[in-house]
Symmetry: C2
Subunit: 141 residues, 2 copies
């Protein structure tokens, strides 16, 4: 797998990176093992349907975990250190959905050498499922 | 595993829940499989040490994933639906650290039936590693 290696200087306001990822049942199982989050909305399709969802809902924090990939692999990649993440969950994600993750640099702080990333995640139907703003330190080596 | 089932009415400003979790190498492996985040800071102890860290650093978003457990299992538990999470990462977490996660209700919105949780995570040395504010919908059944 390729990993970008942007330096702080190479990043400009407007620099953009994106990737796609399909959410699988295995990911939900792994996430449940990590967190111990046994909530039925994410584990019991029948319960989720009784709450008016199409199927069991993917953990919001699992979808959010792709922010780690965005910063750590794509923008800036290698020199990434996430400082803050402000996340809004706007639509349910289901197993089988393919999520596009797009981050755009909206600001840079030369004094503390961090960037602000505006992030939008959409499902394969084009619905926005998550919006985020991240503050990411770009480390020197 | 026990899961709380607070209703919106049962929750008061000041209601508090907490739990502890130990971060393992297996969790890092699983998180890497889910996200594809191959960043060396989280995977290569030698590289992490060259960047002045004690050891490879636990993914910030992995530590953040325990917010899922806090809301989905503890407060409010069953009726949880996370709307927003604002997270600040304040100290590195390492494999083997035991993290205490504590959430306190600081506000309630009767119109839209959500609560605001203030969350603090500390390691076993008492250092604050993560602070968060969450907006969590408490669903009716």
């Amino acid at each position: 797998m390729h990993m970008n290696e942007y330096t702080y200087e190479q990043i400009e306001i407007g620099t953009k990176e994106s990737f796609e990822v399909s959410v699988t049942e295995e990911m939900l199982e792994s996430f449940k093992k990590i967190t111990g989050d046994i909530n039925p909305l994410h584990n019991d399709a029948e319960y989720a349907r009784s709450m008016k969802y199409e199927d069991r809902v993917v953990y919001g924090m699992l979808t959010a975990s792709f922010l780690s990939t965005l910063a750590g692999v794509y923008l800036p990649g290698k020199r990434s250190l996430i400082m803050e993440t402000n996340i809004k969950y706007t639509k349910p994600v289901y197993c089988g959905d393919t999520i596009s993750v797009e981050g755009t640099v909206t600001d840079k702080n030369d004094m503390f050498r961090f960037i602000i990333l505006k992030v939008v995640m959409k499902n394969h139907r084009g619905d926005k499922v998550l919006r985020a703003e991240m503050k990411v330190r770009v480390m020197d080596e």
